[in-house]
C-alpha cells in the first residue's frame, strides 16, 4: 500500500510502525511525546478544519508543550466531516461507525490500513491471547459479521486480520446477516475444545446476548474448557436486551462456564486505530482495568470545565493515538472514565439511570425520533 508522495507522512508512519513492530512494549513517555507533537504539527498543516479548530483555541504547534495539550476532536464529528490529513483522491478505505437506521454514520477515511493492522495485532495478542506461544495459532470463533459481509466495519476488519494472522483452521465467523449461526457455533466450540489450550470466543456484546438467549431457549448450559476466553465489545446498540456488565458476565458464567476473570472487554471505536483491553488475562489477580499499547494514551477531562480531571475523579475520556496518522490523532469520546493505576475504567450510564427531570436528552431523543 502506498502512502502517497508526502515525505513527512512517510517518515511519521515509518517511525510509528517501527514502534508497533517492536517485540516489547516499553513505556516511553519521551518517544510518545515527540511523535505526538510532530504528528500534531503534521495534521495541523494537512487538515484545515482541524487547524481552524485548534486556532480557535489559540493552539498552534509552536504553542504546545506536551501531548496532553493537543486539542481533541469529538468522535461524533466524523459523522459530519471528512477529517483527513491526506488528499481526498488518495482515500483507499472507509470504515463507518455502526450507527442505526435512525442516525448518521461516522466515516473514517484511510489512505492505508498498514498502521491500523500493525496496531491491532500485538494488542489483541497481548491482551486476549497472552498465553499463546510465538508462532502458535488458536481457534478464534467470532460472533460478528465477516469482513466480506461488512467491508466498512472496522471491527469486522479487525477480526479478519486477527483470524488471518493468529487463527487456527477451526476459526470462523458465526454471525451472518444479523443472525447467530447457533448450530455451527456450538459444533465449532465442541471441536475447538477437543484440542485443549486456547480458544477465543470474540464478538459484539449484543451477539453474546443472542447466544445466551439461544442457549436459554434450548435449556442448555455449556462448560467450555478452561483455556477458553471471551472478548466482547461494542455494547448493545439496541439490538438485544440490555444488561449491566456484571449481570452479563454472570450469565456468561452460568451458560458458557467462562468465569469473569476470563472475559475481556475491548474498548475501541471506528475512529481510533488502536484499541484498549481489560487487563484480566494479561495480569490475572490485579484490578481489572483497560490497558492499551504505548503508542496510544488516554487523558481524562474534567467534565464541567474541560481541564484535566483530578486524580480519582470521573473524567471524559480523550485518546491520543499515534496510529491515526491519516486522520486526527486526538479524539474526545462521549464516555466517562476513571483512572485505575496505569490504566482506566470506562463507566457508561447504567441502563435505566434516572434523569433529573422530565426532559429527554441527547441521543436518546434522536434514536427515538427516527431522524
Amino acid at each position: 500500500m502506498t502512502h502517497g508522495p508526502d515525505p513527512a507522512r512517510r517518515n511519521l508512519d515509518a517511525r510509528v510502525l517501527a514502534w508497533m513492530r517492536e517485540p516489547s512494549w516499553k513505556p516511553d513517555a519521551a518517544r510518545f511525546e515527540a511523535l505526538a507533537l510532530e504528528l500534531f504539527a503534521f495534521q495541523w498543516e494537512r487538515c484545515p478544519p482541524y487547524r481552524r479548530f485548534c486556532e480557535g483555541r489559540g493552539v498552534r504547534p509552536a504553542t504546545l508543550s506536551n501531548w496532553q495539550e493537543i486539542p481533541a476532536v469529538p468522535t461524533g464529528a466524523f459523522k459530519e466531516l471528512e477529517l483527513r490529513s491526506f488528499p481526498a483522491q488518495r482515500s483507499a478505505h472507509v470504515f463507518r461507525t455502526s450507527g442505526t437506521s435512525t442516525s448518521a454514520r461516522g466515516a473514517l477515511h484511510l489512505d492505508t490500513l498498514e498502521l491500523y493492522e500493525a496496531s491491532l495485532l500485538p494488542s489483541f495478542a497481548r491482551f486476549v491471547l497472552p498465553d499463546l506461544a510465538p508462532g502458535e495459532r488458536a481457534p478464534i470463533l467470532v460472533l460478528a459479521p465477516s469482513p466480506n459481509e461488512a467491508p466498512d466495519s472496522s471491527l469486522s476488519h479487525m477480526f479478519g486480520v486477527v483470524l488471518r494472522e493468529l487463527g487456527a483452521p477451526e476459526s470462523g465467523f458465526f454471525l451472518r446477516e444479523g443472525v447467530l449461526l447457533s448450530d455451527e457455533l456450538l459444533a465449532a466450540l465442541a471441536r475447538a475444545g477437543e484440542h485443549g489450550g486456547c480458544v477465543a470466543l470474540c464478538g459484539t456484546t449484543f451477539a453474546f446476548v443472542f447466544l445466551l438467549d439461544e442457549l436459554a431457549r434450548r435449556g442448555r448450559s455449556l462448560a467450555l474448557p478452561p483455556g477458553t476466553r471471551i472478548m466482547e465489545t461494542g455494547g448493545f446498540k439496541g439490538r438485544s436486551r440490555e444488561l449491566g456488565r456484571d449481570a452479563l458476565y454472570a450469565e456468561i458464567g452460568q451458560r458458557l462456564g467462562v468465569p469473569a476473570a476470563r472475559i475481556v472487554n475491548q474498548y475501541g471505536m471506528t475512529e481510533l486505530g488502536s484499541q484498549f483491553y481489560d487487563s484480566v488475562l494479561r495480569l490475572p489477580g490485579e484490578p481489572r482495568r483497560k490497558l492499551g499499547p504505548p503508542w496510544a494514551r488516554v487523558k481524562l477531562v474534567e467534565p464541567v470545565n474541560g481541564g484535566p480531571a483530578p486524580e480519582n475523579e470521573l473524567g471524559a475520556i480523550a485518546i491520543v493515538d499515534l496510529a491515526n496518522t491519516g486522520s486526527v490523532l486526538a479524539l474526545q469520546t462521549a464516555d466517562l472514565g476513571r483512572r485505575i493505576g496505569d490504566g482506566f475504567d470506562v463507566l457508561g450510564r447504567e441502563p435505566g439511570a434516572e434523569a433529573r427531570g422530565c426532559s429527554i436528552a441527547a441521543d436518546e431523543l434522536l434514536g427515538q425520533a427516527g431522524t
Partner: protein
C-alpha cells in the same frame, strides 16, 4: 422498606380510603385546595423547607429553586383546582351520589415519581386524592424530599386526608418492593420512556396504568419577533424558560426555530439569547451538572466548535466556562440536546418547514413557545396541535403551566376516574 411493608402500607391506605369516601367529595376537594394554597405561599413552612432542602439533594442552585417554585406554583391555586375539578369531573357530587352518571376513584393508587422538579410531583400526588383514591408514592431517587413534605402538608390541613397518603422509599432496583407496589389497582408513573416501557410490562391487568414519559419543548419565532424590542423580549423569555430548572423539565425549550428568509435573523437571536443567558447565570446560577451531563455538554460544545471551524454556518456562543451554550445551526436538522442550558437556534424558511422540522420530535413534543407570527399564529397553532404539542404559549411562560395543562395530551384528573352509569327504569 421491605416488600411486606409495602403490602401493609397498601392495605392501610385501602382502609383509610374507605373512611375518606364516607365524607363528601367536596370536603376532600376543599382540603386539597387549601394544601395548594400552602404550597403557593412562599412563607409556608412546607415551601420554605422545600426551598432549603431541594438544592442540596438535586444540585440545582438555591436561586433557581426559589425562582422555579415561585413561577411554577403561582398558577397552582386552590381556585384553579376547584375549577379544574368542575371542568373535568363536573359536579363533585358525582363522587358521592348513587344514581345517574357516577364517578369513583380506585381503592388505592401507586404513584411512581421521577426527576427532581417538584411541581409535577405535587400534582401527581394530589390528582388521585381528588378522586378520593389513597396514594402510595415511591419518591424519585433524585428528589427524596418533595413527596414527604407534600404528605406532611396534607396531614397538617386535614388529618383524615393525611392518612390517605404514604411514602414508600425503596431503591430503583428493588424488584420485590416494586412488585408489591404494583399490586395497587391504579399505577401512575413518570420516568424515561425506557422506564415506563419496563413498568408497563409489569402491570398486570386489569390494573389501570397512567404513564407519563419524557417530553421536550421548543420555541418558534416569526418575523414579528425578530427585530428590535420584540427580539430582545423574546430572547429574554426563551432564556428564562431555558434557565429555570437548568433545562431538566420538559417545558424547557431545547431549540429555537427562527422562521423566515432572513439569513441574519438567527444570528441576531443567538446573540440576544446568549446575552440573556449570561445575565441569568448571574441571577439564577446553573447548578453543578453530574459528570455524565457535564461531559455531554462539553462534547456538544466541542462538536459545534469543530463544525464552525470546518466552515459550516455554525456559531457557538457561550461554552463550558460560561455555563450555557447557544449554537446557531446552519439548518433545521435535529441534533443531540445535552440540556444544562444548551440551546440550538435553527433557521426555517416558513411554517411548513417548521412543521417538517418538528415532525421527528412530535412523539415527544410538549410545549411550543411562539411569538411574532401575527395573522399566521392561528393556523400555526392548529398545525402544532395536530403534531401533538400539548401547550402553546408566549416565550417566558413555558415554565409556569396552568394546573389544567393537559400534560401528555390528556386531562389531569379524569385518567384517575372510574365511571359508572346507573340506568334506572320507572
Amino acid at each position: 422498606m421491605t416488600p411486606e411493608e409495602v403490602t401493609d402500607r397498601l392495605a392501610e391506605l385501602r382502609e383509610a380510603g374507605v373512611e375518606l369516601r364516607r365524607r363528601p367529595a367536596s370536603d376532600t376537594l376543599a382540603s386539597l385546595a387549601q394544601v395548594l394554597e400552602l404550597w403557593r405561599d412562599p412563607g409556608s413552612p412546607w415551601r420554605r423547607r422545600l426551598e432549603t432542602e431541594l438544592p442540596g439533594v438535586t444540585g440545582f442552585s438555591p436561586e433557581n429553586v426559589h425562582e422555579g417554585l415561585a413561577r411554577g406554583l403561582a398558577p397552582f391555586s386552590g381556585d384553579a383546582l376547584l375549577a379544574l375539578a368542575r371542568s373535568e369531573l363536573g359536579d363533585p357530587a358525582r363522587l358521592d351520589t348513587a344514581g345517574g352518571s357516577m364517578l369513583s376513584g380506585f381503592d388505592v393508587t401507586a404513584v411512581v415519581l421521577a426527576g427532581a422538579i417538584p411541581q409535577p410531583s405535587l400534582l401527581a400526588l394530589l390528582a388521585p386524592l381528588v378522586l378520593r383514591s389513597p396514594v402510595l408514592a415511591k419518591p424519585a431517587s433524585r428528589d427524596p424530599v418533595t413527596p414527604g413534605l407534600v404528605a406532611a402538608s396534607i396531614a397538617a390541613v386535614d388529618a383524615g386526608l393525611g392518612r390517605c397518603i404514604a411514602i414508600a422509599p425503596f431503591g430503583s432496583h428493588d424488584e420485590a418492593c416494586l412488585s408489591a407496589l404494583l399490586d395497587a389497582s391504579c399505577i401512575a408513573a413518570t420516568g424515561s420512556d425506557a422506564s415506563i416501557a419496563a413498568l408497563a410490562g409489569r402491570v398486570r391487568p386489569p390494573r389501570r396504568f397512567i404513564p407519563s414519559g419524557h417530553r421536550l419543548s421548543v420555541a418558534a419565532l416569526g418575523p414579528g419577533a425578530l427585530a428590535g424590542a420584540a427580539l430582545e423580549a423574546a430572547a429574554e423569555g426563551i432564556a428564562l424558560d431555558v434557565a429555570l430548572w437548568d433545562q431538566q423539565g420538559c417545558l424547557s425549550p431545547l431549540a429555537v426555530y427562527v422562521v423566515g428568509r432572513s439569513d441574519t435573523a438567527p444570528d441576531r437571536l443567538a446573540e440576544c439569547l446568549a446575552r440573556a443567558l449570561a445575565d441569568l447565570e448571574r441571577r439564577l446560577p446553573r447548578g453543578k451538572p453530574d459528570a455524565a451531563a457535564g461531559a455531554a455538554f462539553l462534547y456538544e460544545c466541542d462538536s459545534a466548535e469543530l463544525r464552525a471551524a470546518a466552515g459550516g454556518r455554525v456559531t457557538l456562543l457561550g461554552g463550558a466556562a460560561q455555563h450555557f451554550a447557544v449554537v446557531r445551526e446552519a439548518d433545521a436538522a435535529p441534533r443531540p440536546a445535552p440540556l444544562q442550558r444548551f440551546v440550538r437556534v435553527h433557521p426555517v424558511a416558513d411554517a411548513r418547514e417548521l412543521r417538517a422540522a418538528l415532525r421527528p420530535l412530535a412523539p415527544h413534543l410538549a410545549g411550543v413557545a411562539l411569538a411574532g407570527f401575527g395573522a399566521e399564529a392561528a393556523a400555526l397553532a392548529r398545525g402544532l396541535a395536530d403534531l401533538g404539542a400539548s401547550r402553546l404559549c408566549r416565550p417566558g411562560e413555558l415554565q409556569a403551566p396552568p394546573l389544567a395543562w393537559p400534560h401528555d395530551n390528556r386531562p389531569v384528573l379524569l385518567p384517575y376516574a372510574r365511571f359508572t352509569d346507573r340506568e334506572t327504569r320507572e
